[in-house]
């Protein structure tokens, strides 16, 4: 069974991470472990994120809401129901809504308009917790996976897309809160870290930005959950000592588009797996 195989894989992965920590005194051994770890995270059978992909597929095809229809007619930018490569071009402008939306905003829109599904409960479960599955995380895993192997293609031709990216940049540098932090405080320079955590630099287009953005959604081993960019930025705003950002709000989409601009052309390889 796939689930059992993945569970075993995850266990092995955790063990190898432990081994890695203890192998520092033996360089050869350590390097071998890192290689083994790399091979493992690119193996779908040992990445529990693929369980979310499977659950997402079921949700995508399941008739729900007052209209009792599935999401299969949802247009993610490439035409109704077309999934291949859609995530690579999100966020983007949608004429029917006259708004720029990221994948999560668009899914909520389709649930509302297409399915007439009350999204209150879906939003309440936007981030999974032990014993509380998240439809959004699962759907994002499934849909983003359909852009794996493709390149990040930020959409910047429509005036509203241009505005989004410009606002995203302003927000990236916007300092405030009790610690005067902005995104740029932690992600404004090459090769910095907070404690032992490496901080990617997003202040200019770079392979580093490409690698970072091309790896979301990701399965977080430390959280035991698949996480999307909405969750990553929620957590960064927490560390920034800012107020709670609203889920699926325009500011998060603006930042995501700005980050994708810095990561344009990067390879998408998702769901990935991280610490």
């Amino acid at each position: 069974m796939r689930a059992a195989a993945i569970a075993a894989g995850a266990l092995m992965l955790l063990c190898s991470m432990g081994v890695m920590a203890h192998a520092q005194d033996n360089k050869d051994n350590g390097e071998k472990e890192i290689e083994r770890y790399r091979a493992m995270i690119s193996d779908p059978m040992s990445n529990p994120g693929y369980l979310a992909v499977d659950r997402g597929e079921v949700l995508w095809k399941q008739p729900r809401g007052a209209n009792n229809v599935s999401l299969e007619q949802c247009d993610l930018g490439l035409g109704a129901g077309k999934l291949e490569g859609a995530y690579a071009k999100l966020p983007r402008y949608f004429a029917d809504a006259d708004r720029v939306m990221d994948l999560e905003q668009r899914l909520l829109w389709c649930m509302d308009k297409l399915q007439a599904l009350d999204t209150k409960d879906v939003i309440a479960r936007r981030f999974s917790a032990p014993g509380r599955a998240s439809d959004m995380q699962d759907l994002v895993a499934f849909i983003a996976n359909k852009s794996s192997g493709m390149k990040i293609e930020p959409q910047l031709s429509h005036p509203k897309e241009k505005e989004m990216a410009a606002v995203g940049e302003e927000m990236f540098y916007r300092r405030g809160g009790v610690m005067d932090f902005a995104c740029a405080t932690c992600h404004g320079e090459e090769g910095k870290r907070i404690r032992l955590q490496q901080l990617p630099n997003f202040s200019k287009p770079s392979p580093q930005a490409q690698e970072a953005m091309g790896s979301w959604p990701t399965y977080r081993v430390s959280q035991g959950a698949l996480r999307t960019m909405q969750h990553r930025l929620w957590d960064c705003y927490r560390q920034q000592r800012w107020p709670v950002p609203e889920y699926g709000s325009d500011g998060i989409t603006a930042l995501t588009l700005f980050l994708n601009k810095q990561a344009a052309g990067g390879d998408i390889n998702v769901p990935s797996i991280k610490r």
Partner: protein
């Protein structure tokens, strides 16, 4: 990352002495989108947070300048900002800069406080290790700021250096315009006693920072 460091110390000391007040508001750089548009996005994103939380991200003059100039204000403006921020430094009334280094070590290690996930009764930490190396035996340190190992010893425990460091921790912008370091005292994030304790961690000859 060269930020008018030289003019800084002189300006700091002279403005504190003279109690000089520069004019406000400071001019800001022209953004690619209007402030009104940005504010609408911020409202859409944080508008449902409690009002006291929203108040925290209303920028003061210094943060407006730093945001708009991407933390690289032109030299004349940087000088003005430093002068303004120097006026906001409150030195300890009792003239004592150093508290208890053991409690300072805990404050330097504590990264809690100020996050929306924290309980209301959380004691704020300085989180210095997030950005600085301090005690040599602590390997989990960040690199956003310079290493502070042997900080007091390297400065021969000089009283002028002690005062300068207190000002830096109380209000980092009074020393380096648009520093990435929080303004711990000016923003009321750490208490005077906590700053004194962290100071002792840097300057007490018994502190492991100086071993």
């Amino acid at each position: 990352m060269t930020k008018t460091l030289c003019a800084v110390m002189l300006a700091t000391i002279s403005t504190i002495a003279a109690g000089h007040a520069a004019d406000l508001p400071l001019p800001v750089a022209k953004p690619a989108v209007s402030q009104e548009v940005v504010d609408n996005y911020l409202k859409a994103t944080f508008g449902k947070a409690p009002p006291e939380w929203q108040a925290k991200i209303v920028p003061d003059e210094a943060m407006k300048v730093c945001s708009s100039y991407r933390n690289e204000p032109p030299p004349a403006l940087a000088e003005k900002l430093i002068a303004e921020e120097s006026n906001r430094v409150v030195l300890p009334a009792d003239g004592q800069f150093l508290g208890d280094w053991k409690s300072g070590a805990k404050i330097a290690n504590n990264g809690r406080g100020g996050q929306f996930s924290d309980d209301a009764d959380t004691v704020n930490g300085g989180n210095c290790y997030a950005c600085h190396q301090m005690e040599q035996s602590e390997v989990s340190f960040g690199t956003l700021g310079p290493s502070l190992t042997h900080y007091g010893k390297d400065r021969h425990y000089d009283p002028a250096e002690i005062k300068r460091a207190y000002i830096k921790i109380y209000n980092s912008q009074a020393v380096v315009a648009c520093s990435n370091m929080p303004r711990f005292g000016a923003n009321k994030f750490l208490t005077e006693q906590q700053i004194k304790d962290v100071m002792a961690f840097l300057f007490d000859p018994q502190s492991p920072v100086n071993k």
